[in-house]
C-alpha cells in the first residue's frame, strides 16, 4: 500500500512554538521531526513501502516521487522552503493524479496529511471548498473520495483544543468522512514539543505501519514470516455482516493444487511472504533499540544458513508448478505460489481470495476439498493425466447448450440450402454424397453455421434416409418446443406448410419413404399448432412414422 506524505508548507507552519528555556521551534520543525521518525521506522521495519512526498501551499509540488529510498525523502524533508497560504483542495487533487498515474485506480493507498490545522482563508480554503462542494459541475468535483481505495491520516501539529476553537476540527472530520471514513485524525497531547510530536507519530506507526508477522504452517513444518504489505481487514456486507474480517497470524496450509487447476483466480490482494528470523533474545531485551542494528545483520546472516521451510516450499512450488491452498481465518482462504519478476528473482507470494466458503466456483467449497488418498481411485490418474477440477456446475449456461432465440428475424429464416452448406455437411459426416438440404438458419451472416434445423429431403444412395430424417426431426422437435413455449403457433403452421410443399417438389430419385415421413412431420406440427393438449404437450417429441420402407431395418442398422 503506497504512502503519499502531503506536507503543509504554508507560512502558518512557521509559527513558533512557545517553549520555556530551550531554543525556539517552528511548527514546521516539529512536523519534520515527526516525519523523520516515520521515515526511520519505515526504513528499518517497512522498507518495501513506496512513499512519495508532496508539499503544498496555494500550489503543490511533488518533491520526491514514489521511492523506497528513505534517504532521499529525508533529504527533501530537510530542505523544505516556506510558501504562502494553505489550499488543500488543489493539493488533494494533485495527490489523486499522482497516485493514479503511478498505480492506477485500484491500488489502495495511504495519505498522510501533515498540517497545523490552519486550513486557509477565503477562496481555496478548506472551509470554502466544503461549502461550495455541492454546487459544482462534473469537471470541478471535489477530489475526495479518491477513485482508488484510500486511508487518510491527518497529523495535526496542534492540539485538539486549538482546533476546536475554530471550525478546523469540524472541517477535518468532514474531510475524513468524505474520503470514505477510513483513516484517523491525530492531534498532539499537551504542549507542542518534540516529545508530544513523537508520541503522535508513534500512534500513527502503531496504527498503520506495524509489520504483519505470522507463522506459516504445513503440518509440523513451520516458518516465521512477515507478510507485506500487511493484509487489511475486509468488510463483506455492511448490511448483513458488518464486522470486518482480519487475517489470522497463523497461516495453515490445507493442501496443494496444480496451477492449471486453480486457473488465474481473482484475488483481493497480493502479498510477499518473507521468512524472518525471530530473535527471541532480542525480543526479551526489548526490540527497537537502535544499537541492535549490527547484531540484527549478523542474526540475519546466521539465519541465511539455517534451513527455512519457506525456501523449501517456494522451491518445490516453483519446480512442480503448483500452489498451496492456505487458510487465513474461518471461511477465508488464499494461495501461496512462486512469483518471478522480470529480473528472474523469485519470491514466495500469497494472494487472498474473497472471504467465503466458496471463493472460486471451479474448486467448489474449500471445506469439501480433501486429500486424494481418501478417494477410491486417484482422481489425477496414475500418470497425472486427469484432474478433478474444474468442478462442473449443475446447470449449463445458455451458450453451452442449444438454446433457441428468435428475437432477430434472421433467426427464423428458412432457406433452401446452397452448395457450401452441403459441402460442410459432407465434410463433417465424411460421406461422399450429394444432398439437397433445406435449412432454417439462425442468421443472415454468410456461411452461417449454427443451424436451427436442416431438413434433408433427398438422399442419393449412401446416406440412409432414415438417419438423415432423424437429424431433421431432432431439429424440428427443438423448433416445436420453442414455438410452443413462446405461444408462436403460427410458426408451426408455417413450417408444416413448408414441409408439405417440399413433398410436392420431391424429385423422382427421392427415397420412397421421404414423402410419407415429411407429411407425417408436417401433420404433427399442425396438430401441435392447434393447442390440443394431446399433441401440444411440451415434452412430446415427434417420432418417425413406421412405414414399410423404414421398417426399422436397413437404415437404422447402418446408423
Amino acid at each position: 500500500m503506497p504512502t503519499v506524505v502531503l506536507m503543509d508548507a504554508s507560512l502558518s507552519m512557521t509559527r513558533p512554538v512557545s517553549l520555556e528555556g530551550s531554543e525556539e521551534f517552528q511548527r514546521k520543525n516539529l512536523a519534520v521531526h515527526g516525519l523523520t521518525m516515520l521515515f526511520e521506522h519505515m526504513a528499518t521495519n517497512y522498507r518495501l513501502e513506496f512513499t512519495a512526498l508532496v508539499v503544498f501551499s496555494s500550489l503543490w509540488e511533488l518533491m520526491v516521487p514514489f521511492t523506497r529510498d528513505y534517504n532521499t525523502l529525508q533529504e527533501a524533508l530537510n530542505n523544505l522552503e516556506d510558501y504562502d497560504k494553505t489550499c488543500l483542495e488543489s493539493a488533494l487533487q494533485g495527490v489523486s493524479n499522482i497516485v493514479q498515474q503511478e498505480w492506477g485506480s485500484t491500488c489502495p493507498c495511504q495519505v498522510v496529511l501533515v498540517t497545523d490545522g490552519a486550513l486557509g482563508i477565503g477562496r481555496g480554503s478548506l472551509r470554502h471548498s466544503l461549502a461550495t462542494m455541492k454546487q459544482r459541475g462534473e469537471d470541478k468535483k471535489f477530489p475526495l473520495p479518491f477513485p482508488f481505495p484510500s486511508k487518510l491520516y491527518i497529523m495535526c501539529i496542534s492540539n485538539a483544543e486549538e482546533l476546536q476553537a475554530t471550525d478546523a476540527m469540524d472541517n477535518l472530520e468532514q474531510l475524513l468522512t468524505l474520503s470514505g471514513g477510513e483513516g484517523h485524525i491525530f492531534t498532539m497531547d499537551g504542549p507542542l514539543c518534540l516529545k508530544s510530536v513523537q508520541a503522535m507519530f508513534g500512534k500513527l506507526i502503531d496504527q498503520a505501519y506495524t509489520p504483519f508477522h505470522a507463522v506459516l504452517r504445513c503440518g509440523n513444518l513451520a516458518s516465521d514470516v512477515q507478510v507485506f504489505p500487511r493484509p487489511e481487514p475486509v468488510l463483506l456486507d455492511d448490511e448483513v455482516d458488518p464486522v470486518p474480517k482480519a487475517v489470522l497470524t497463523e497461516l495453515e496450509i490445507v493442501g496443494f493444487i496444480e496451477i492449471g487447476d486453480i486457473a488465474s483466480p481473482p484475488v483481493l490482494s497480493r502479498h510477499l511472504v518473507l521468512p524472518i528470523a525471530v530473535n527471541k533474545e532480542a525480543d526479551e531485551v526489548g526490540a527497537g533499540t537502535t544499537d541492535d542494528m549490527e547484531e540484527d545483520t549478523s542474526t540475519n546472516q546466521m539465519a541465511g544458513k539455517s534451513p527455512n521451510f519457506c525456501v523449501l516450499l517456494h522451491g518445490s512450488l516453483k519446480v512442480e508448478g503448483m500452489v498451496a491452498l492456505v487458510q487465513l481465518g474461518p471461511d477465508w482462504y488464499g494461495m501461496l505460489y512462486s512469483q518471478a519478476d522480470s529480473k528472474k528473482k523469485s519470491n514466495l507470494m500469497m494472494s487472498l481470495f474473497e472471504p467465503g466458503p466458496e471463493p472460486l466456483p471451479w474448486l467448489g467449497k474449500i471445506s469439501q476439498l480433501g486429500p486424494i488418498s481418501d478417494a477410491l481411485e486417484n482422481p489425477y490418474g496414475e500418470d497425472d493425466s486427469k484432474s478433478p477440477f474444474p468442478v462442473q456446475p449443475k446447470n449449463k449456461r445458455s451458450y453451452a447448450q442449444n438454446v433457441t432465440v428468435w428475437i432477430k428475424a434472421s433467426g427464423l429464416q428458412m432457406c433452401r440450402k446452397s452448395s457450401e452448406m452441403q459441402e460442410n455437411f459432407q465434410r463433417k459426416h465424411k460421406r461422399s454424397t450429394r444432398l439437397v438440404l433445406y435449412v432454417v438458419t439462425q442468421s443472415k451472416l454468410p456461411h452461417e453455421f449454427t443451424l436451427d434445423a436442416f431438413l434433408i429431403v433427398k438422399t442419393v444412395n449412401c446416406i440412409p434416409f432414415f438417419w438423415a430424417y432423424l437429424c431433421v426431426l431432432k431439429e424440428l422437435n427443438r423448433l416445436r418446443k420453442a414455438a410452443l413455449a413462446f405461444g408462436f403457433w403460427e410458426l408451426l403452421k408455417c413450417v408444416a406448410e413448408l414441409l408439405e410443399r417440399e413433398c410436392t417438389l420431391l424429385p423422382d430419385s427421392a427415397h420412397p419413404d421421404a414423402a410419407f415421413q415429411l407429411s407425417h412431420a408436417a401433420q404433427q406440427l399442425k396438430l401441435a399448432s392447434t393447442g390440443d393438449s394431446q399433441y401440444a404437450a411440451f415434452e412430446h417429441n415427434i417420432t418417425p412414422m413406421l412405414t414399410d420402407f423404414s421398417g426399422g431395418g436397413g437404415g437404422a442398422d447402418r446408423m
Partner: protein
C-alpha cells in the same frame, strides 16, 4: 449490490389477456426458398409474432442473461456474498388473465429457463375469444405483491443464521409488468392498486412467520403496442409513489424494440455492462485458409470495467489515457432508433490478442465475472464461446493507436462457465522485492526440493461434495490438514540432515508409516523393508550418508548404519501411537537393528546425540535430557556451529585439544573420491573401482587400530590422556556424520 437489494427478488408479470393475442405487425419472411430457386413456387405468407410471443420471448431473454451471469446456486448458510455472484437473485414468473398463474416459486431448483419454458407451453398463447371483461393484469400484480411478501429460502437461511440480528435481513423486490395499457390513467390505476396491495400485505405479513413486509418495491411497467400504432401511454422515468413504491413506465413497440428495451433493463437492474470483443479471427467456411475478423458483444457485471469507470469519472488525465480508446457508442435511450439491435448505452471495445496464454501461467487477476453473449446464437458468438468452452483462454488488450499494448482482461472458461477476468495492468507495489535467496534459509543449497515436490503431489486436493464429514466428524479439508500433520511428523528439510530419505530401500516403509491405518500387507512390506536393511548392513553396503559439514570421509560404515537405524527409529516412533501395526513396525526395527558390544558401550552417549539430532530437526520438540556435563554442552554447541558454518576454526578455538586443522591441507586423491562417493551425485568408474579394491583389501588383513579410529587417515596419538580428562573430542567429532 447489497445482498437483499431490490434485485434479490424479481417478479415478472406478463399479461395474458385476449388483446395480447393481437399481432405485433412485425412481419417475418420465413420462406427464403424462393429466393434461391425461383421456379414458380409460391412463397409462403410471412408470419408475425403476437404481442404475447414478443413479451414472452423477450422476458425469457432477460432471464437467460440473468441466469448466465447469476446462476442459481445451492444455498449456503454463511455465503452472504461472493465475488463471482454478488447475490442470490431469484425470479418469480406470473401470467395474468381471468386469474393469475404462478409458473414457478422462489425455490432454487425452479430458477431455470427450461422449467419456465415448459410451464409457458402449458399456458399457451392467450385465447382471443375469452371475455375481455373478466381478464385483467391486476390479478397478476396482486399476486406479484403477495409473492414478494413470501420469504425466500435464502432470506430464511440468513434470518436463521443471524438469529438475534435477523432484522438485518431486508425484503425488497422488483415487479416487471409486461402489458398493454389503455392510457396513462390506466397506468396510474395499476400503480395505485400495487401500492394498496403492498399496504394490505404488509399488515398481514407483520403477524406471520413465513411472510415479510416489503420495505421497498420497484415497479417497472412496460407498455407494449403493435408496430404502426401510436402509443397511448407516455414514458415516465422513475418516480417515488410512496416510501415503499417507486414506479417507472416504458412505452415500447413490440418486436426488436421491446427486446432492446429489456436488454437495457436487465443491465440496469443487475449492474451489468457490455464489452465488445473485436478483431476475432475466424476461419471462413468457403475459404478455409483465410480468416475474417468479427466482433462479439458480451454482457457481464459492471465491475469488470471498474478501472475505466473510476478513472473516467474522477480524473480528466486518466480519462484521456483510457477512455477515448474504448469506443463509447452514443446513448441509445430511444430503443430501436439506431441500427444497433443490442440497444446498449455503451460498450467497451477490447481487442482479441494473440499470442494466446497458456493455462500454467498464473496471472494477477483482480476479478472474474461470468459473461453472457448478447446474441447467443450468432455464428461469431458461438464460435467464440465454443473456442473458450474447449478450455482455451484469450487475452484482451485495449485498442490503442500508439504506445505499448495494455492487456487488461482475459476470457477463460472454468467448468463450462466463461469468465471475464480483469488483469492488473498498472505498476505493482511489490516490484523488485528481495529475492528469496537473500533471506532466511536462502543460502542453504541442499533442500529436498524434489522430495517436497513429491510430498505436494501426494497432498493434492480433490473435491468430496458427497461426503461432507467422515466417521470422525471431520470435514474433508480437516482430513487434508490431518494428513499434512501426519506426513510431516519427521521430515528433514535438507539432504544432509537425513540418511533414510536418501535411500531407495527405505521408500516403501516411509510411504506406508505415515498412513492413518495400515493393512496387514502394509505391515509386511514395512517388515520386509527392515529385513532388507538388515541384509544391507550384513553385506556392508555403503549408505548415502551426506558428508556435508563433516570432516574427511565421514563416519565409518557401522557408525553410518547406527545413524541410519536411529533415524529410522525416530521416524517410526512419531507414528507409533497411530495403531497397533505402527507399533509392530517399531518393534520390528528394535528387534532387528544390530547392537554390537562396543555399541552397547556407547549407547548412552549415542542416545544423547540422537536426542540432539531430534532436537535440531524437530525444532526443540522433545525436552532436553537432564544430566549433561557442562563440558559436553559446550562441545555440542561447538559441533553445531561447525556443522552450520563448515568452519573448522570454531572447533579449534573452542576445544584446544582437537587435532590440527588438517583439512586445510590438500587432501589425497583417494580421500576425495571416497567422500565423493558418499555424497550425492554420480560416481565415476575410477572411484567405484578404487573403493572396491580398498574394500577387498581391507578384508584381507586386520586394520591397524589407529587407522580404524582415524580421520582422514590420521590417527591421534595419546588419546588415553584425553580420555582420562573425561572427554573424547575425536569420537564426538566423527559422530556428527
Amino acid at each position: 449490490m447489497k445482498t437483499f437489494s431490490v434485485s434479490h427478488k424479481t417478479v415478472i408479470v406478463v399479461d395474458h389477456c385476449p388483446y395480447m393475442a393481437e399481432s405485433s405487425r412485425q412481419q417475418i419472411e420465413c420462406d427464403m426458398l424462393t429466393k434461391s430457386r425461383a421456379q414458380g413456387v409460391i412463397p409462403l405468407a410471412p408470419v408475425s409474432k403476437s404481442l404475447w410471443t414478443c413479451a414472452v420471448e423477450c422476458s425469457m431473454e432477460y432471464l437467460r442473461i440473468l441466469y448466465d451471469i447469476y446462476p442459481a446456486r445451492k444455498l449456503d448458510m454463511s455465503a452472504h456474498r461472493d465475488i463471482l455472484a454478488c447475490t442470490v437473485l431469484q425470479v418469480n414468473y406470473i401470467v395474468s388473465d381471468s386469474e393469475f398463474h404462478i409458473l414457478n416459486s422462489w425455490r432454487q431448483e425452479d430458477q431455470s429457463v427450461q422449467e419456465l419454458m415448459s410451464a409457458l407451453a402449458a399456458v399457451g398463447p392467450p385465447n382471443p375469444r375469452e371475455d375481455p371483461e373478466c381478464c385483467s393484469i391486476l390479478h397478476g400484480l396482486v399476486a406479484a405483491v403477495e409473492s414478494l411478501c413470501k420469504i425466500t429460502e435464502y432470506q430464511h437461511e440468513s434470518r436463521t443464521t443471524l438469529m438475534d440480528m435477523a432484522e438485518r435481513v431486508a425484503n425488497r423486490g422488483r415487479i416487471i409488468c409486461l402489458t398493454n395499457a389503455k392510457s396513462d390513467t390506466h397506468v396510474r390505476m395499476l400503480e395505485d392498486c400495487v401500492l394498496e396491495t403492498i399496504q394490505e400485505q404488509n399488515k398481514l405479513a407483520a403477524g406471520s412467520d413465513r411472510l415479510m413486509p416489503i420495505q421497498q418495491c420497484e415497479l417497472v411497467l412496460v407498455h407494449i403496442y403493435p408496430q404502426g400504432d401510436d402509443t397511448l401511454v407516455s414514458d415516465r422515468p422513475k418516480k417515488e409513489i410512496s416510501s415503499v413504491l417507486n414506479s417507472e413506465v416504458h412505452s415500447v413497440r413490440a418486436g426488436r424494440h421491446l427486446a432492446s428495451k429489456l436488454n437495457v433493463l436487465v443491465q440496469q437492474h443487475f449492474d451489468l455492462a457490455s464489452t465488445t470483443i473485436t478483431n476475432i479471427p475466424m476461419k471462413e467456411e468457403q475459404h478455409a485458409n483465410t480468416s475474417a475478423n468479427y466482433d462479439v458483444e458480451l454482457l457481464h457485471h459492471r465491475d469488470a470495467h471498474i478501472e475505466f469507470i473510476k478513472s473516467g469519472m474522477h480524473s480528466i488525465f486518466v480519462f484521456d489515457q483510457c477512455i477515448p480508446d474504448c469506443v463509447c457508442t452514443g446513448d441509445l435511450h430511444m430503443a430501436g432508433s439506431t441500427s444497433r439491435d443490442s440497444g446498449l448505452k455503451e460498450t467497451v471495445t477490447l481487442k482479441w490478442c494473440t499470442p494466446r496464454t497458456n493455462s500454467v501461467e498464473l496471472h494477477y487477476c483482480t476479478g472474474a465475472f461470468r459473461i453472457s453473449p448478447v446474441d447467443v446464437n450468432s455464428r461469431p458468438s458461438s464460435c467464440l464461446t465454443n473456442f473458450l468452452l474447449n478450455g482455451r483462454s484469450v487475452l484482451l488488450e485495449q485498442p490503442r493507436k500508439s504506445g505499448s499494448k495494455v492487456i487488461s482482461h482475459m476470457l477463460s472458461c472454468h467448468g463450462g462457465e466463461i469468465f471475464l477476468h480483469t488483469l492488473n495492468s498498472t505498476r505493482s507495489t511489490l516490484e523488485d522485492p528481495p529475492s528469496i535467496s537473500e533471506g532466511c534459509g536462502g543460502r542453504v543449497t541442499d533442500y529436498r526440493i524434489t522430495d517436497f515436490g513429491e510430498f505436494m503431489r501426494e497432498n493434492r486436493l480433490t473435491p468430496f461434495p458427497d461426503m461432507p464429514v467422515d466417521a470422525a466428524g471431520r470435514a474433508p479439508f480437516e482430513r487434508a490438514k490431518a494428513q499434512l500433520e501426519r506426513h510431516t511428523r519427521y521430515w528433514p528439510m535438507i539432504i544432509s540432515q537425513t540418511t533414510i530419505f536418501n535411500m531407495q530401500a527405505v521408500v516403501p516403509l516411509a510411504n506406508l508409516i505415515v498412513k492413518d491405518s495400515m493393512t496387514e500387507d502394509d505391515l509386511l512390506t514395512c517388515q520386509k523393508t527392515v529385513y532388507n536393511l538388515v541384509d544391507m548392513e550384513r553385506k556392508n553396503d555403503p549408505l548415502p550418508i551426506s558428508t556435508v559439514g563433516s570432516r574427511g570421509k565421514g563416519p565409518k560404515r557401522d557408525e553410518q548404519y547406527r545413524i541410519m537405524w536411529n533415524e529410522l527409529e525416530t521416524l517410526v516412533k512419531t507414528h507409533v501411537g497411530t495403531s497397533e501395526r505402527h507399533q509392530q513396525v517399531l518393534e520390528c526395527i528394535s528387534a532387528c537393528r544390530s547392537k554390537p558390544p562396543e555399541e552397547e558401550e556407547r549407547k548412552k552417549r549415542g542416545r544423547k546425540r540422537e536426542d540432539k539430532e531430534d532436537k535440531t530437526e524437530k525444532n526443540g520438540k522433545e525436552s532436553e535430557e537432564k544430566g549433561w556435563a557442562p563440558d559436553s554442552e559446550r562441545l555440542k554447541g561447538a559441533i553445531e556451529r561447525e556443522k552450520e558454518e563448515q568452519s573448522e576454526s570454531e572447533v579449534i578455538k573452542d576445544s584446544p585439544d582437537s587435532p590440527e586443522p588438517f583439512n586445510k591441507k590438500p587432501r589425497l586423491a583417494t580421500e576425495e573420491l571416497l567422500s565423493l562417493e558418499k555424497s550425492k551425485g554420480p560416481v565415476s568408474l575410477l572411484s567405484l573401482w578404487t573403493s572396491r579394491i580398498t574394500q577387498a583389501n581391507s578384508r584381507k588383513h586386520q586394520e591397524f587400530a589407529g587407522r580404524i579410529n582415524s580421520v582422514n587417515n590420521k590417527a591421534e596419538l595419546y588419546q588415553h590422556l584425553k580420555d582420562e580428562n573425561g572427554m573424547d573430542v575425536h569420537e564426538n567429532g566423527k559422530a556428527t556424520r
